[in-house]
């Protein structure tokens, strides 16, 4: 039997059973479309993260105190309790030529109060460099003054949301606030900006690093943010930073360096895994479509018993009958897949139009994976009905009996 004949023969069956065919096409189409759409969302999230990182534009390196063991996030081994990372360490790093800016950070929480309004907030103690490194801008007032690099000063910059909570729409610049037991003057308010790298700065208050040192009574830095020069060689800069630390920490290299690239790579990994996981979940809908195909095929085999008997009587072998039924399923799955792919692409294009910030896009593998899974499910689940059709005894089939259940 020729392929073109089989396609025409199946087409006539589909036309004859429009409702059944429509139902199956829809089940397969929706399954394929959901795999493509969900993976497109995952890929969109991945691209969104990239977009966010590259919006920062600069090359960042983050220094954490303490060594992170290669085996994972275990605490440092006994006897090598990490030395604090100090402001002096940060200053030494700023002398490396390929380093453009160094922002040491001390972090803590304190009650921030104006009159009788009080908010518990995160306090970041840093230098004016933090504004450059994190690309922060003030909407009112100024950033921290240059003197705060080395001295404590009773000044602060408020996050936009914190400012609103403390002052409403009133003027904040020049006003005094209490942070813990200290009084300080507001010199600037950060511009409104969404989350950046998972940290919501609009809730925070930035104070001079020396002031924070006194407030939290600890010389240890929370971390150091380093912005590299445009042409910096990342591995060489990293090894110079480590050398400085070894020199200053009596031979111990008790810091952990995380580059922006490494962070991006781990985000990438997480999101890629997540995309695969949702693809697998979406594939379950194809399994459901496969089971539907199997059940409807079994019904079709028992309804078409006489026809199967006739085909055998006029020369069809069992293999041919099996092939006819498998071909019918595969053709149906192919048609459903085409419909599903077209539908998914249309939805992706529409979402892209309506919501341009989110770069929704099907990953390259999603269409072959969705269609491949659909074809495989169609094949596997129609094997049994096809086998049952092929095994029908022609004499009994012609009389409409026999061949197991149904009639």
């Amino acid at each position: 039997m020729q392929l073109s004949d089989q396609i025409r023969f199946n087409g006539q069956i589909f036309l004859r059973h429009r409702v059944r065919t429509g139902l199956l096409l829809m089940a397969v189409g929706l399954g394929v479309a959901s795999v493509i759409l969900l993976t497109s969302l995952g890929e969109g999230a991945r691209r969104y993260v990239y977009q966010e990182f590259s919006a920062l534009g600069n090359q960042l390196l983050i220094v954490f105190p303490g060594r992170k063991e290669t085996t994972g996030g275990t605490p440092p081994v006994y006897g090598t309790a990490p030395r604090d990372l100090t402001l002096e360490d940060a200053m030494a790093m700023s002398r490396i030529p390929s380093v453009k800016a160094v922002a040491p950070i001390i972090a803590g929480t304190a009650a921030i109060a104006v009159d009788n309004i009080s908010r518990e907030s995160i306090v970041l103690g840093s230098t004016p460099e933090i504004f450059q490194v994190r690309q922060l801008e003030v909407s009112q007032g100024k950033i921290l003054p240059d003197r705060t690099r080395s001295e404590a000063m009773a000044v602060c910059v408020l996050g936009a949301k914190l400012k609103r909570e403390l002052f409403g729409h009133g003027r904040a610049i020049g006003e005094w606030i209490r942070a813990g037991d200290r009084r300080m003057r507001v010199v600037g308010v950060l511009v409104e900006r969404g989350e950046s790298l998972g940290m919501d700065l609009s809730d925070m208050i930035i104070v001079p690093v020396r002031t924070a040192e006194q407030m939290f009574n600890s010389p240890g830095l929370f971390r150091i943010l380093i912005e590299l020069a445009g042409n910096a060689d990342l591995p060489r800069t990293e090894s110079r930073i480590k050398a400085i630390i070894r020199e200053r920490h009596e031979g111990d290299e008790d810091i952990t360096l995380v580059s922006q690239d490494a962070m991006l790579a781990s985000f990438d990994n997480i999101l890629a895994t997540l995309t695969l996981a949702i693809a697998a979940i979406a594939a379950i809908s194809l399994l459901v479509a496969g089971i539907l195909i199997m059940n409807l095929s079994l019904i079709s085999v028992s309804q078409r018993k006489r026809e199967i008997g006739l085909l055998k009587a006029i020369g069809a072998s069992s293999a041919q009958v099996r092939q006819l039924f498998l071909g019918e399923s595969l053709m149906l799955v192919s048609l459903g897949s085409v419909a599903g792919v077209i539908f998914a692409w249309a939805v992706v294009l529409i979402i892209g139009r309506l919501w341009p910030v989110f770069p929704i896009f099907p990953p390259w593998w999603s269409v072959p994976a969705a269609v491949g899974t659909a074809l495989l499910a169609g094949l596997v689940f129609s094997l049994m009905p096809a086998r049952r059709a092929a095994a029908l005894d022609p004499v009994l089939a012609l009389s409409g009996q026999g061949g197991g259940q149904g009639g």
Binding site: M1, Q2, S4, D5, F9, Q12, I13, L15, R16, R306, E307, G309, L310, L311, K312, A313, I314, G315, A316, S317, S318, A319, Q320, P394, V395, L398
Partner: protein
């Protein structure tokens, strides 16, 4: 060309065995015209299905053109059915979603004949049974006699040498039945071997050779075994 020797077929009905064919010996030569008669349940259809390779004997042998068919693999038996044997059934067995022409084409389609070739062949045989004008009609638009003529066209489109008809007029009125018989007899006159099961004594007696079956056995054969063997030897 058809040679049955000691063919037995037993069906299990409930828990008692039912012997549908008992030690059947039969020789049929090329171009013969046989009718098979007998009471209902006597094994006529079973015999026809056996000869048409739709069924396998439990014991005994069936030689078709001196080939032992009972041991042939299913694939080859299917090929024999397609190429050598044409079947006609009491209930027509046309595929309702296909036109008359497409129904006639079916055996050729299964055999892998190209569309163009089989269109020509199908039109030819439809003309032969007088239904050229009805080729585009679906079965539900045709009368019983027309349906059976489509079925005959389908049975002969592969130019088989044996035509097996199981009560071909059973669902037809007198006039349509007569037409069908004359179509079949014309085909026999052109050389096809015709074997027809019938209930109708008048129709059965038109055959040159008549077989009567009772309880799975051939009770009477209008030609003696020796005659048949002699006939077979000369073919």
């Amino acid at each position: 060309m058809i040679e049955l020797q000691g063919v037995n077929k037993t069906y299990q009905v409930g828990d008692s065995p039912l012997r549908a064919l008992r030690d059947v010996d039969l020789l049929v030569g090329e171009g013969e015209y046989l009718s098979v008669m007998g009471p209902s349940g006597s094994g006529k259809s079973t015999l026809l299905n056996m000869i048409g390779l739709l069924d396998r004997p439990d014991s005994g042998s069936y030689l078709l053109d001196e080939v032992h068919t009972e041991t042939l693999p299913e694939e080859q038996r299917a090929q024999f059915r397609g190429e050598q044997i044409g079947f006609i059934f009491q209930s027509f067995h046309l595929v309702s979603r296909l036109t008359a022409l497409e129904n006639v084409e079916l055996p050729m389609m299964l055999a892998g004949v190209s569309l163009r070739e089989r269109r020509i062949a199908a039109h030819e045989v439809l003309a032969q049974v007088g239904l050229e004008a009805w080729s585009g009609h679906h079965p539900n638009q045709l009368s019983g006699g027309q349906l059976q003529r489509v079925a005959i066209a389908r049975a002969i489109v592969m130019k088989p040498r044996i035509l097996l008809a199981d009560e071909p007029t059973g669902n037809l009125d007198q006039a349509s039945g007569q037409e069908i018989i004359s179509v079949l007899e014309n085909l026999n006159a052109e050389g096809i071997t015709l074997m027809m099961v019938t209930h109708d004594l008048n129709l059965g007696q038109r055959a040159r050779r008549q077989i009567r079956m009772v309880d799975g056995q051939i009770e009477a054969d209008s030609r003696t075994e020796t005659d048949a063997r002699a006939d077979h030897a000369t073919v």
